[in-house]
Each structure stands twice: as structure tokens, then as C-alpha cells.
């Protein structure tokens, strides 16, 4: 310090005050860079990384709401793996995610291709299509709950009057064979706009010359879709599918509002079961163990994203 001070005097520059020296220190690129990232990093460490560590600790202890428990090793995992409801939940989660993501992908590409055409009221139609994604999910799902009402279901009313359903029609949310269908339908309804809009952005970026070249080569519209559109959409589709898989797999809102996991646990997903065990039931340890089953899927997708997609 003293040396640098003397050196400064030797150069004849005016002595820097303490404040000025701090300022100069802060102007260095790395110091400035670190100091700007600190608030975000503190947040991530304190409210994401630390709670994640706690979730692991909870899952290894018999921690109940209001009474920190003892370390019990893998007992919680042993308990839930032996639990019929948990095994049903694992099955539900995969069925739900797989069907919903496939439907959203297929319908999303279809819808994006439609939106890509030159429509009148293009902006209006895009706005309308995106609406389910913007409105508070819990509230729109509430409306779906009313549409699937056991007695006054508008879905059944319509089906019966079109001759598609024989009266009185299914009790969508109360029958084990129908509830999953209803939950998937609502998830597709809510997630479809996300797929469509992003795939649309992918479509817009495909150069038109490719289509012209394919047409010259005699490709019909299916051929153009199969050999031009689809291969060029692949990177965009990969991102959307991975992204959506995480959020479909960890869905909470739709099931919680629509069925709360019922009837007879046939629509429980990891998140709703964790909520039921950990908060309604107060067994935080076991609830945390259930929610941690979301982690392998998350880790796999993060890995794929980092390995293959962010590299481009």
C-alpha cells in the first residue's frame, strides 16, 4: 500500500482519497463483475441451493411440521417405495407426462403450421391461441372443473346432444378411468400455446429457398414437411420438449385444483403427493423424499440441455 502511494506521489498525480481508491478498485472488470453477480448468487445459494440441501436432509430424517426429527437414514425412501399409493403415483406421473408431452408436440407442430399461414387477423388469432398460457392456471383449471362437473358437465351435455355419449355420461373427475384423461386434456390445453408459439418461431427461421428447392425436386406437401420442415425444426423441438417435460412432470396446479390426486389416487403426481404427505399430513420428511423423485428427471434434462443444446 505504502509503496503504491509513494509511487503515485512520484508520478506527480494528486493523492487519491480513500473513496477514490475504492472507486478505482471497483472499476476493475473482475471486481465489478463479481459485485454485480453477488445479489443473484446469494439468492440462489440461500433460497434454492440451501433449501435443496434441506430437502435432502428432511428426506433422511423423521421431520414433522413443528418437530425437527432425528436422522433415520433411508427409512423414508424404504417406506414410500413400499407404499401402494406412491407406486401408483410413479405410474401416473409417467403416463401423464408421456401422453401430455406427445400430444402437445404433435398438436403444437400442427397448430404452428396453421399459424404460419397468411391469415387475416393474424395477430388476433395468435393472441387468442396464447391466452390459455397467460391466464392464471389455477383459475382456468377451476373453470375446467366446472366443465367436468359430475352433474352439470357441459362436456357431457354437448356429447349427449351430438350423440357421442350415452346419457348421463361419465363423471369425469370422479371415475378412475376418466380422471386421468381429464387431467391430461387440461394440461394439453394449457401447454399447447407454448409449443405452438415456439415452433412457429422455428418455422419462421427456415429459409423459404429450401421449400422451393424441394418443390422443384417434386416433393409434395407431406414430403416437404417430412424432409425440410421436420429436420430443421429438430433443435427447436428438442428444447421445447425437454423444457416442457420438466414442467409437466412436476405439475402441481392442474391436479391440485381439479382432482387433488383422486379418485383413489389415480391422478396423483409427485408434487401433489408430496403436498399431501408433507403439508396436509405434516410428515415433512416423507414428503421431501417424494418430491426428491423429481430430481433425477430434472438432472437428466439439465444434462441433456447443457450437453447438446447450449453448445450450439
Amino acid at each position: 500500500m505504502a509503496v503504491s502511494q509513494r509511487a503515485l506521489e512520484a508520478t506527480g498525480l494528486p493523492r487519491l482519497g480513500r473513496l477514490a481508491r475504492v472507486r478505482e478498485w471497483w472499476e476493475q472488470e473482475h471486481v465489478f463483475g463479481y459485485s454485480l453477480i453477488v445479489p443473484a448468487l446469494a439468492l440462489i445459494l440461500g433460497l434454492v441451493a440451501y433449501p435443496f440441501g434441506m430437502a435432502i436432509y428432511f428426506s433422511l430424517s423423521d421431520y414433522w411440521v413443528g418437530s425437527p426429527g432425528q436422522f433415520i437414514g433411508l427409512q423414508n425412501f424404504r417406506d414410500i417405495l413400499g407404499n401402494e399409493i406412491f407406486r401408483q403415483t410413479v405410474y401416473n406421473s409417467f403416463v401423464f407426462s408421456l401422453i401430455a408431452v406427445v400430444l402437445k408436440t404433435v398438436l403444437g407442430v400442427w397448430l404452428a403450421m396453421l399459424l404460419f399461414r397468411n391469415f387475416k387477423f393474424k395477430r388476433l388469432i395468435r393472441g387468442a391461441v396464447l391466452l390459455p398460457w397467460v391466464i392464471p392456471t389455477a383459475l382456468s383449471v377451476l373453470a375446467w372443473g366446472w366443465m367436468f362437473d359430475s352433474l352439470y358437465s357441459v362436456v357431457n351435455w354437448t356429447g349427449i346432444h351430438l350423440g357421442l355419449i350415452s346419457p348421463p355420461g361419465p363423471n369425469w373427475l370422479g371415475m378412475t378411468s376418466y380422471a386421468m384423461t381429464a387431467v391430461i386434456a387440461v394440461n394439453v390445453w394449457r401447454g399447447l400455446p407454448f409449443f405452438a408459439i415456439i415452433v412457429l418461431a422455428g418455422l419462421v427461421s427456415i429459409p423459404r429457398e429450401y421449400y422451393e428447392a424441394a418443390e422443384v425436386d417434386g416433393a409434395n406437401s407431406w414430403g416437404r414437411f417430412r424432409h425440410v420442415t421436420l429436420p430443421l425444426l429438430k433443435p427447436v423441438l428438442a428444447v421445447v420438449v425437454l423444457f416442457s417435460t420438466i414442467f409437466t412432470f412436476s405439475d402441481f396446479n392442474i391436479v391440485q385444483v381439479l382432482t387433488r390426486g383422486g379418485p383413489v389416487n389415480t391422478t396423483h403426481l409427485f408434487a401433489t403427493l408430496a403436498y399431501q404427505i408433507g403439508l396436509t399430513g405434516g410428515n415433512l420428511g416423507q414428503g421431501a423424499a417424494v418430491s426428491l423423485f423429481l430430481f433425477p428427471m430434472l438432472a437428466a434434462i439439465v444434462f441433456l440441455q447443457l450437453r447438446y443444446i447450449r453448445r450450439d
Binding site: 465489478f32 463483475g33 439468492l43 440462489i44 393472441g127 392464471p136 390445453w189 402441481f252 409427485f270 421431501a288
Partner: protein, 286 residues
């Protein structure tokens, strides 16, 4: 234009096909909202009449469900809570994200790549993975069962998302602009605030809109961390507290859903293009 070989007739047919195809999608997307509105305006006698046509209002429009909502429930308190939470959480997250996003997108120092990856991973963490431990964290912070529990926890998903989005915007600003300012003697902070931020305004608007929408719509944390009726958000209040006993009063429930969605609908209609571009940038630039 079109490839040209196709005839006028074929073009018209293709357009008609396009419109016809669009209709089921539009009906699917919009019907629940139509049904929401129509239910909220119907008399109970008509709502619960199996003979009535559910698509129409046949026995007159009423506002009773709305009046009940505004005068007999804590709905206005919930709206106020939602507003405070959304505005505070979004503003705080915006400031944190601007700083972090600029640092990650523009400055070179050791570890910047790792920090960027950390933000990206956090962006992908679903709230349902962390809601149980966070429910205990807010207890320890002494803010459990208050709106502050949500103000504090919402940045956990807003900051990674906003940082990610803003990084993309900051990268589009030419470096020379900043270098000029620095050479002219501006400090780094002045350069960020006076030169970079004004050029990133579309990104900031976008992040603000998404931040407000995500916080207003949030359900998992809002349901989990707050149980007192007076401290609930609009979304949770309508979903959980308008159900008296085990009975669903669909008229007032749908009235609540309509009014609690309205702020988002208004903002959305106004800023549609920002939503589309933000959605695309947030997911695809990953």
C-alpha cells in the same frame, strides 16, 4: 410470394382449409373463458337446471355473483395482496437480474461461465421440488403466513428467468457503445445505467411483464406458505376460500376467476408482442 405454380383455385382451397382447421383450435383455446364469463352472469336456478342449454344465458343476466364477491368476501383484500406481492417481487427481481444479466453477458472474469450455468440450472428447477423446505425457511425467517413469505420466495424463480432473458438482450448491444462511454470517462456503473439500460428497454419491459404475470399467477407457493384468509393472493383466495364447506358455488367462483384474471388479460392485450417475443427468447435462446 407463393411458389407460383399453384392455381388460384388451389390457393383459395388451401386458405379455406387453413381457416377450417383453425376453428377447433380456437374453440378449444377460448371456450373455457367464454364458459367462465357466462357462468358468472347466470342465475343459480339456470346454472343448476339440467334442461337449460349451458352455452347460453336464457333467463337474464345478473350481477349477483359479482356483488357477492365484492361485498361479502375478502376478494378486494386478495387483489390488494396480489398487487403488492407482484409489484415488489417483480421490481426487486428486476434489479437483481439486470445486475446479474449484465455481469454474465458482458464482463470477463474467472467463473463467469460457471455462474451462467448455475443461473440456467436454477431456471429449470421446478418450484414443486423446493416448496417443502421453503415452507420451513419462511417459518424461520418469521414471515410464514404473511404476504412477505411470497415476496421473498418469488425471486427464486423470477431472478433466474429474468437474468436469462436479459442476458440475451444485453448481448445484442454493440460493445463499442460501452467502450466509447468508458473511454470518455464514465464509470462502469454510469455506463450500465445511462448507456446500456436505455438500449435494453424492450428486454426490461418484457421481463417486467413476465415477472408480473408469473407472480400474479403463482399457485404452489401461495397455497403452501399462506393459510390466513386475509393474507391470501387473488388466485389462491378464489380457488380455496370461495368454496364454502364442501360446496362449489360456481357462479361466484367463476366471477372470482374472471375478475382475478382481468389484470393479466388487460396487460396481455396491450403488450401481446412482448409476450410472444419473451416466450420465444426465454425458451429458445437456452
Amino acid at each position: 410470394m407463393d411458389v407460383g405454380v399453384r392455381s388460384r383455385g388451389a390457393r383459395i382451397r388451401s386458405t379455406a382449409f387453413g381457416y377450417a382447421n383453425m376453428i377447433p383450435f380456437l374453440a378449444f383455446a377460448l371456450f373455457p373463458f367464454y364458459y367462465m364469463v357466462i357462468t358468472s352472469l347466470k342465475k343459480d336456478a339456470e346454472l343448476y337446471n339440467l334442461k337449460a342449454v349451458p352455452f347460453l344465458i336464457q333467463t337474464g343476466v345478473i350481477t349477483d355473483h359479482y356483488r357477492y364477491l365484492f361485498f361479502k368476501t375478502e376478494f378486494l383484500t386478495w387483489i390488494k395482496n396480489s398487487l403488492i406481492i407482484s409489484v415488489v417481487a417483480t421490481s426487486v427481481s428486476l434489479v437483481i437480474a439486470i445486475l446479474a444479466g449484465y455481469s454474465l453477458a458482458r464482463l470477463r472474469y474467472r467463473g463467469v461461465g460457471a455462474f451462467g450455468t448455475a443461473v440456467f440450472i436454477t431456471y429449470l428447477v421446478p418450484p414443486t421440488l423446493l416448496f417443502l423446505p421453503l415452507s420451513q425457511v419462511v417459518v424461520w425467517l418469521g414471515i410464514s403466513d404473511t404476504i412477505w413469505a411470497l415476496v421473498v420466495t418469488y425471486p427464486t424463480f423470477l431472478v433466474p428467468f429474468s437474468t436469462w432473458l436479459l442476458m440475451g438482450y444485453f448481448r445484442t448491444i454493440p460493445r463499442e457503445v460501452e467502450e466509447c462511454a468508458l473511454v470518455d470517462g464514465a464509470s462502469r456503473m454510469q455506463t450500465l445505467v445511462r448507456i446500456v439500460l436505455p438500449m435494453a428497454i424492450p428486454g426490461i419491459v418484457c421481463v417486467t411483464l413476465f415477472g408480473f404475470t408469473l407472480t400474479w399467477n403463482e399457485f404452489t407457493y401461495a397455497l403452501t406458505f399462506v393459510s390466513q384468509t386475509a393474507n391470501k393472493t387473488a388466485v389462491v383466495g378464489v380457488t380455496a376460500d370461495l368454496i364454502r364447506g364442501d360446496i362449489y358455488y360456481w357462479g361466484s367462483l367463476m366471477a372470482g376467476a374472471v375478475v382475478a384474471s382481468l389484470p393479466i388479460v388487460v396487460i396481455y392485450v396491450w403488450f401481446l408482442d412482448y409476450y410472444v417475443s419473451g416466450l420465444t427468447a426465454g425458451a429458445v435462446k437456452g
